[in-house]
């Protein structure tokens, strides 16, 4: 009896992983090729994946994570540049792991308001503005932290969230130099006072 129950729960667990991941794969595929997600499928899946107890289940078992790492395409590198009196400043992190997490924070902020996906509907515009304001709040926090840590004299600091341009393989083969230019997604100038 106990064994049969375990098998049933295991089957549910694995089935849930398969459904949620196949749907994530499908949506990221649509996103990548800029195709609309099938509305009936979206409705059907949202009944399963949007179900509150299942959301808790997914979170506490780790099954909410998608496994399509670096796919369908490798995410473009992102950066946060803070220009203070003509020079670039950045937070002081002592470990590789913390730097990696900081990069994830920057990536998440950039993704939060990816400029290529400009909102159309009124509701989307509101959500976009909220996200933009949230990003500004985070950037303000980071700037203040750096000013305090480095004990910088009060002045203006220009901050921008960027995608870093990446030279395609074909261009590199054609002899073009590696392009590290920035594609700004959000800009902000802060006046830091004493």
């Amino acid at each position: 009896m106990k064994r049969k129950l375990f098998i049933c729960l295991a089957a549910f667990h694995l089935l849930f992983i398969i459904i949620s991941n196949l749907y994530t794969s499908y949506t990221s595929y649509c996103d990548y090729y800029e195709k609309p997600v099938d509305s009936s499928l979206r409705k059907c899946i949202s009944i399963i994946l949007g179900n509150q107890p299942l959301c808790y289940y997914a979170k506490y078992t780790g099954t909410s994570a998608g496994y399509g790492y670096f796919a369908p395409n490798v995410r473009s590198p992102t950066s946060l540049s803070c220009i203070y009196r003509g020079g670039n400043i950045g937070p002081e992190l002592s470990s590789n792991e913390a730097s990696l997490r900081y990069d994830n924070l920057v990536g998440a902020l950039v993704e939060n308001i990816n400029a290529e996906k400009m909102p159309v509907l009124e509701q989307e515009k509101k959500a976009f503005e909220t996200k933009k304001k949230y990003n500004e709040l985070v950037l303000r926090n980071i700037a203040m932290k750096m000013f305090n840590d480095y004990q910088l004299p009060p002045d203006a600091v220009s901050m921008s969230l960027n995608f870093i341009n990446h030279t395609p393989l074909a261009d590199a083969r054609a002899g073009k130099e590696m392009n590290n230019g920035l594609h700004k997604v959000q800009e902000l100038t802060l006046i830091i006072k004493q």
Binding site: L14, G62, A65, R101, L105, V138, H166, L169, A172
Partner: protein, 314 residues
Amino acid sequence: MKKVLNNYLNTGALAADWPGFLRISTAAFALIHFLSIQADFDILFSYNGLVKPDILAAMNEGLVPTMVDIHVFAGKIIPGLSYEHVLVFFRSFYMLCLACLGAGIFTRISALFSLLTQLILISSINFYQYGADSFTTILLFYCVIFPAGKSMSLDSRLFRKTKSISASSATLCLRVLQIHLCIVYFIGGFDKIAGDNWRNGEAFWKAVTSHNLFHFADVTFLKNTSFFLIAGWATIIIEMLYPVFINIRKTRNTWLLLTISLHLGIMLFLGLFFFSAVMIIFNLAAYYVPYLKEKKKTFAAPDTSPVMQLPVPA
């Protein structure tokens, strides 16, 4: 069909102590991973950090409480409780739980508290989290539901009444772990083949020449060769065919070696040390340690016991 399924679910776990390996390696990994950010702990978690915790908590989806939520809640019960107190508690409690989990003291409880604490810590810094955290959650969850304390643990030594793990129960748990891992790789490969950039080598080029924190070697000099095309396809093949070749006895070790090489590549060229390490642990726990006894047996006298036989690949 029923016979094949029954055979698959009941036989195959030759080394019944693999849950012990899963428990110890998961606890050790999570502890080292957590220790690696201790020098920057305040920058990531405290109000003196880069982003204030309440601002980070504002974007939390609400499924797991953050340390800010816990501080607000506990502050009503314990007057004068500061956020720093909560931070010190979780910081030390997580390490204590992981140490207990690794040693196998009150294993299930320590695994459960490790999982909950890890989720709270990660939800508190949701924008800083990445793939290694998700896989740590998965492995900790399996440490909770599997009989991870039945072998190589202080529980099994101190409380002799504890039943040792049965081969069939260990096999059933192992199948869940293995199928989960097969889904992970298949989906990973499936998503890659869906994008044209992995099929023409562009994605692999982008991955290894991008702005990664660590580069073992610069491979841009290979741009005029077929290296990136072959490497892209090799990644897809290793991932998509993982569920097939890892489950065939003759090809298991080769595929395991290829998969571990893939993760070593990610470690050396993308600088994702902990992500690669957790995936290697997942692979070893699912497809190497359970078959160790089988490897030993090939050098010893053959055993014809039905429990010890491997299933015929479906």
